[in-house]
Amino acid sequence: MKKNADSFIVKNEKKEKISKAFDIALRDIDDAYIEEAADNTPVPLKRTGFRVAALAAALSLTVAIIIFSVFILLRGRATVDPQPADAPWKTGELHLTSVVFRAEEASAKKPGSALPFLLLTSPADSTALQPDQEVLLSDTVTVSVAPYTRISGFSGNDLMRVRLRSGDHADCDSIWYDIKNDKIVCLSCLIREAVSGDPDYTDACIRLAIESGMISYDAFLSGEAADIYAELYRKMDNESDRRAFSEGRSKSPLPSVSVLEYGTDPDKCLYTLTNADKTLAYGVFIFDFKSGRAVKLDASHTGVPECFSGILGTPEKADANLTLASDIIISDGYTRVIAEVPYYPLGAEYNSATGEFYPTYAASTVMVYTAGENSYSVFGDAVPKDMMQTPAGGLAEKTGTVSFTARNGKTAFSVDRGDIYLIDGQRLALLNDRDGRTAVIMEQDGRTVCYYPEKTGPLPADPDKIADTTLPFERGVIEDGVFRDLITGETSALTAGTPDALVRSRDGRFVYYYDRRGTVFCRDLLTGDEGAVEVGQAFENQLSECDDATVCLFIGGNGRELLLAYFRNGDLTFDREAYLASIPELREKESFVFYNMTSDIVNAFNHNFETVLPFFRLDGNPIRITDTKRFTALGRYLSVAVLEKRLTPGMSEGNYNEISDLMKSPGMLADIAEAVIPYLEFTSGEAFITPGGLRDTMNGITEDAFNERYSMLQDSVDLELDVVVYEEATPDNWKRLLARKIANDVVRRLTGYLSPDDEMRDMYLFEKKYAEQTGDAEAAEHYSRLLGILDSFYEQFNQGTDSVAAESMRQRLMEMLIPRLDPAVDRKGQYYGIYMRQLSLILDELWDDIFAAAADISYPEFLSSGDFLYIKNSADYYLGFNSTLYQSVDLDWYGRLIDKDALKALLSELDFEKKDVAIYREAAVGAYRMMPLFLTGGRDASGNAYLVSYGYAARLTDEQLHRFVEICSGKIIPDYCPDATYTDFYIEYDRYTAERISRLSD
């Protein structure tokens, strides 16, 4: 069994490697070939056009239809044919002779996935069944479908989605076959007919229409079709459907409203209504905010009030003029309209001739209207989403006036900063998705903050229901030691008074703070509740709800103490003596086999170690860490041991996610923390942990090697760090910069130093090769295994140098370096300490070769991954964990997130020196960190501001700190790595962080 599993895993890993290699290689296909093929490649996106036809005629099949038999078994076992890559039904060319529908399978399958029926693709295949053959079973229903009908989904056991290739509904998108009634229904046309005539529908169709979001009672509440939909509602015999219908709670996304124009009358707007995916247009409406009613315009768009600019024009011109300026999301039955106005120059267009909708873009304004209360609020703010800083120049956030312009050039509306229109005084809850993309609507006195509600669900009107929403959000904020409930407006003081530091859990839900007696408190921002972090179950519960199950590094009231809290399985008690006694066993154990932990484990560790490892002593007093080096080195050593103990046989062959899950499993880090405790000095005094030190912990080196490395670093400090030279990638210097970066990458890999874009792969490769050279078969096999694990998430790394040529260069550089390293030295040691220097020297010698190797890297490919800003010091190739010496700041596609000139100007003023500094940032993870520079900012106990990076710090004047904050603030980068392993690639930003940044610069 294990062997089979092994071979499967090996094969799978191999396939992924090959696939990635092909992926990279395909990126280097000659442009001429791409262009040649592009000219002849059709665009697959097809939207349905708007078809209006008499339903009776529409439902009749054409003369050319050949009747085939479809056998439906409502019971019985299912057999499913393997689905080839080009299954006919996927390509739309289904030479269907017979389809057997098995209801049981249908409910278990997702639409579009392997279809639960036996499919005969040609007459020749139908050995068992013949066309027109009818199989009569007790539960069998025979239906007929047209030839080339593609079956693409099911709705319960009643409806089978098909696509007709001929006939009046050949281009309609929502064709369903009502199995019981042996009837084909076009839902698209059904809806239209329901507006203008008396539709012929079935209950199953109604249900489906609700489920698909095509009908929302709320959406048509005041429209012409109100009566029609009321009738539909009455016809429903399913109570849940009725309830859903009346509450407007569609099971799928609600209809989408796209604002065409906000007229000069602020109480009206002109919008189009479509289904959720905008494949169907329901018409043009005028929405009156005051009355809460919508009026549908006729086809000629007559009756458009003067407050609109005539955007619609005549029906002939309307198509050309229609633009989508925003989306209005109609909440689920609470008649609260939230409008988002995108501020992006490309905007969106609707072309009714082709039926194509182009996507809208990030919004910058949220308008909320509650029809029932006959009032609305407009929140407009310069807080930008990622799209906000457009080439068009961004918002005039400095002037206080924000204007939002629709693509047609009309000003949609303008909002003065600070103007708040309240909905009868009701405040709105924050919707703060921790990935930073959920809209936040918040009102603060004199200030409005708005985020884009990207694809959020409806806002419940009842604040008490907010806690039930699936969207994580913050009910309140903590400011100046006071918790303010954003729903009720009430404030409550924190138990700990006005703590100097607040630490937030990674999911953002919990905020921890500490009082001087050593009690840790936690405020649940979701519920507003506060409680002391108690030993045992209470905290464990919170841990389990937190994203990473650990958390909380507290900076004490005096700004210097590092207070940690630790819980293990809800039980703080642990037998320290017994653990100490077990240490020798751990020491003797060959645990270094895992010292090169996969980068994923490391990063999971890093994630949790950002401000983690809370500790309390048995007596309840916090443990203070006094020896950074010991802590980091031993922590790593022992964490390795603990990890190894936890790994089950075969676990190391598991995939990234398993290991990551292991690292996040409750108690895991507590175990590790526990392992470290015996080695901590329980003395008072200042304790510091540098971000670099923490990160260094994850390198898995031995204490000796660690100390050696530190010693070397001590020696190297004399190199006089002088971070003054900045180079920007230009056509003239990019190769040199790229070469240097790649060289840095490789050496860092060889040294085992883990950078944010670390790729342990080459290190494992080196280990493997070394083991092979020295005849250590066991080690070679081990590193082969680790290589396989690493490759499974290799592609998540930064794409900046992820090109064929860059990768090739890395390989070649490895080939150059490996022979130069002294094999006589212990292979673990050679990654660190003295070999760092040796590698640096070797690189100096090999520079010409390195640079030559970079010549193969093409420029556009390089640039297509973003710009690079390099910072180097006088010692070009000193590589190690002095990230300030030579690093690149990979700017995201969005490029302009960082004001490079401002950053360069600021950095040119600074002097970095080695310094043990406390963790300055106030636990807003990634608030203003730039990776892989690891620049963080903060203040020490005396209030002096610093930029800190890996044990090196540069003192900042307040003005400089403010500038740094400005450079970093407000830049939102979408997280391309949803597993959060590499979120550190990007500058994260959220409202809470914004507050901290603002406070930091005060």
């Binding site: 090959i18 395909l26 791409i34 739309g92 490309l346 969005y894």
Partner: protein, 183 residues
């Protein structure tokens, strides 16, 4: 508007350049993105990202041909997104490259892949084929088009397209073997 004019607009930092790109190549970009990522939400974002990348890289770049430049960006973005998304969901990634890997992979547990050599081999392979074959291969593995789409575009039957693809994969495998690239 031709490519030079579009690029000129971008050099002048005129947004009209992006609109022209959207007009000229938007459909192709969307088509490619949609094929790879399979949903409209991602498609929209990817195309948007690609346009931004174009804005940020031009100038100083003056890509020619512009279409290939844009499509490469789109493709990179889409593939990365698919891989990232599927890695998080522990799904097997299904990209055109996966299909090639699946079909050309040998049973030998050891592989020797030099991405640069592979790219060179691919380009040489394409250069050695006739135009129709090249179109079929790239439409399938670069543009992620379906067999029927390729059939419709080339005028060949579905079966013919499938057979040609099969033969090309075999030829490619032989070429790689000849060059010492072991999959």
């Amino acid at each position: 508007m031709d490519d030079a004019q579009i690029i000129s607009l971008l050099f002048d930092r005129s947004e009209q350049g992006l609109r022209e790109i959207e007009k000229s190549y938007g459909e192709k970009m969307r088509g490619l993105a949609f094929r790879l990522c399979g949903n409209e939400q991602d498609t929209g974002e990817i195309v948007n990202d690609a346009l931004l990348a174009a804005w940020n890289s031009i100038p100083p770049a003056r890509p020619a041909p512009l279409s290939a430049y844009l499509l490469k960006i789109v493709r990179n973005l889409a593939c990365n997104r698919v891989r990232s998304r599927n890695a998080a969901l522990r799904r097997a990634v299904v990209l055109p490259a996966d299909e090639l890997a699946d079909e050309l992979m040998s049973d030998d547990p050891e592989e020797r892949i030099d991405p640069a050599a592979l790219a060179s081999a691919l380009n040489d392979f394409l250069a050695s084929r006739k135009k129709t074959d090249r179109l079929i291969f790239l439409k399938r593995y670069w543009f992620s088009a379906g067999i029927s789409e390729i059939s419709a575009q080339t005028g060949l039957s579905v079966t013919a397209v499938s057979v040609r693809l099969s033969r090309m994969k075999k030829s490619l495998s032989e070429l790689l073997e000849k060059r010492g690239i072991r999959l």
